[in-house]
């Protein structure tokens, strides 16, 4: 090993130690824990067993919760794309000083504490809240229907906080776009809608897809929002793991749920990334 290489290792050592200490070790311990047994009388039984995984994979109660988590994350991702992509495009076309002020509005949700924000949504979504009353007044529901403890409510609150990630990600890929391509399309006879759909959107696609990854993984692993809006009645994978840890005190089962959630998200994200790279490598230089 020459001096330069040694120096390189020395330089990355602190970050590596930190990573091993605060990320890798707890993860490994969680993984080990998920293979331990548990009984209500003895607590954690230090054996090696796949019983927790077998229980999760065979019980339809767990399957339903994992499916719900996936469903919520997909809806949130889809809605974030539908809102965030046009929003980023509109922002890009805005003039100063409007642009800077609206960027602040867009990333606003990230600046508010998750608890305050979510409790705010709880007020809006509850039976006497603004949204159910408005829906009722508009004649869309026969009586004010509370959106608390519903998937719809969770999706709405999650979209609110995750849309900025989509906007910023799409924004980044729009910034790489040559604005002359829009003019070129216009000079060739394209209408504004055609330009957006056929010129801007495809060029923003890498940003939409990577924004999708961020939004999806954050939505699937979100805890505070589903915990407050969904409550005990509407569990998702993360709140389920939390309950197993802190209410049932079945740590091994909770660990197994957390591991499955992690593996699921990683698998989806990696597959997604592969797809993006294959699809766009020849079109857009990295």
């Amino acid at each position: 090993m020459n001096a330069q290489a040694r120096q390189g290792w020395l330089l990355v050592a602190p970050a590596t130690l930190l990573f091993v200490g605060i990320v890798a070790t707890p993860l490994a311990m969680t993984l080990l824990l998920s293979f331990n047994g548990w009984s209500s009388t003895q607590g954690i039984v230090p054996t090696l067993t796949v019983q927790n995984y077998a229980e999760i994979l065979s019980d339809s109660f767990f399957a339903e919760i994992f499916l719900r988590t996936l469903r919520i994350a997909l809806w949130v991702t889809l809605i974030c794309v539908l809102i965030g992509a046009p929003e980023a495009y509109i922002l890009r076309r805005m003039r100063e000083p409007w642009r800077s002020s609206f960027i602040l509005v867009v990333i606003g949700p990230l600046l508010v504490s998750v608890v305050a924000r979510t409790l705010g949504w709880a007020l809006l979504l509850g039976g006497n809240g603004l949204i159910p009353l408005a829906l009722h007044r508009l004649g869309l529901t026969s009586s004010p229907v509370s959106l608390m403890f519903t998937e719809t409510g969770v999706v709405i609150a999650l979209v609110h906080v995750l849309v900025p990630f989509m906007v910023l990600s799409v924004w980044a890929s729009l910034a790489r776009m040559d604005p002359a391509t829009e003019r070129a399309a216009q000079s060739l006879g394209a209408s504004q809608i055609t330009i957006f759909l056929r010129i801007v959107l495809p060029q923003a696609m890498p940003g939409i897809l990577s924004g999708g990854i961020i939004v999806f993984s954050l939505a699937a692993s979100a805890f505070a929002t589903p915990a407050i809006i969904g409550g005990r009645r509407l569990k998702v994978a993360s709140t389920l793991a939390y309950d197993e840890f802190l209410n049932t005190l079945n740590w091994p089962l909770g660990a197994a749920i957390a591991v499955l959630l992690l593996v699921g998200i990683v698998a989806i994200v990696v597959g997604w990334n592969r797809f993006i790279e294959r699809r766009y490598s020849q079109v857009f230089a990295s």
Binding site: D178, T181, Q186, G189, R198, I199, F284
Partner: protein, 342 residues
């Protein structure tokens, strides 16, 4: 009435005037260049023709039809942007086909016309590639094919060759000229490269600070510059202030050409020659630089520094430090009377 007519065009950005009092007529099939230094309003003029920039004042008419109310997508003009602006997510063929699709041309005809256009720019076998996979020169040709395939009323080119290296640029100039002749498309080219303007155009519009300085054939604007700006911007020129004497205009007491009033003489370096019969401007060679096909000499004279260009044709030239006598033919020089701007 010319095919494309710009009448008294003015464009102001707030207090800053980008283009002012611009009158220009372009005939059908003509190749015209807007030439001028950076910031003189060339791009602004082109963008007003294209419809991306609205004139503050004045009228633009194409074939007798007023363009001012027509959106850019309705004008049917072909534009090649400085950055080419190819659609990176589409293949070369799809790029070229885009304008035809917008015109709802049938599939079979699109395929045929795209093939034709790509063949015209020498890229017949590259239709399946993406823009990223092509060189700058090839991308430039795709942009040209994309603009020409819609059979535009006018082809607008904004410094299309500025991203190419010197050799590629020369090749593309020839090709561009050939393609334009072949398609007969009326063309407006924006450039700040005088070589390019001289090589390509039927007529050159020399612009300065938003105004037209001179419009004329390349030969005309070079040989008979209408103003001191044109003379110095297009090629190099020597200027001498001259006083009238009974025998004619004299520079520092040496009679150079006929004339009765104080004036500034402009003479191109390649039109200045060395003479042996003693009648002319004496001087001393300061430097002599070899430039391949020609020599460049700086000669110090009592009237000021004079640049002389001599072809590398084997004739003997004075060396550095030698004294010489400079002369030129009166018809090669242009005069501007003293009192007007030098």
């Amino acid at each position: 009435m010319p095919y494309l007519a710009l009448e008294n065009i003015r464009k102001a950005y707030g207090p800053a005037v980008a283009v002012d009092r611009l009158d220009l007529g372009v005939e059908k099939g003509e190749f015209i260049s807007l030439l001028g230094p950076s910031g003189c309003g060339k791009t602004t003029t082109l963008q007003m023709i294209a419809g991306f920039v609205e004139p503050t004042q004045g009228a633009i008419a194409l074939d007798g039809i007023d363009l001012s109310r027509l959106a850019p997508e309705k004008r049917g003009l072909g534009i090649v942007f400085q950055s080419y602006a190819l659609f990176p997510h589409m293949t070369v063929a799809a790029n070229v086909a885009f304008g035809l699709e917008m015109r709802r041309v049938g599939k079979a005809e699109i395929r045929q016309r795209v093939e034709q256009a790509l063949a015209m720019v020498g890229l017949a076998d590259k239709g399946g590639r993406y823009p990223r996979q092509m060189s700058g020169g090839q991308q430039q040709r795709v942009a040209l094919a994309r603009a020409l395939v819609i059979r535009p009323a006018i082809l607008l080119l904004d410094e299309p060759l500025s991203n190419l290296d010197a050799k590629q640029r020369e090749e593309m100039q020839l090709e561009l000229r050939q393609i334009q002749r072949q398609s007969g498309t009326t063309t407006v080219l924006v450039t700040h490269d005088q070589q390019e303007a001289l090589a390509l155009s039927d007529r050159i519009v020399v612009m300065n600070q938003g105004r037209v300085e001179q419009i004329g054939s390349p030969f005309d604007v070079y040989e008979r510059p209408g103003s001191a700006f044109v003379a110095t911007f297009l090629g190099r020129t020597n200027t001498f202030s001259a006083e009238p004497t009974p025998r004619g205009l004299a520079v520092a007491g040496h009679v150079m050409m006929p004339g009765e009033r104080p004036a500034t003489i402009s003479i191109r370096p390649e039109k200045v020659d060395f003479t042996t019969d003693g009648d002319g401007l004496p001087g001393r060679v300061l430097t002599r630089v070899f430039q391949g096909n020609h020599w460049l000499l700086h000669v110090e004279t009592p009237g000021g520094l004079c640049l002389v260009i001599r072809p590398n044709d084997g004739r003997p030239l004075p060396g550095e430090g030698e004294t010489v006598v400079l002369a030129f033919r009166a018809r090669d020089a242009s005069l501007s009377l003293a009192g007007s701007t030098p």
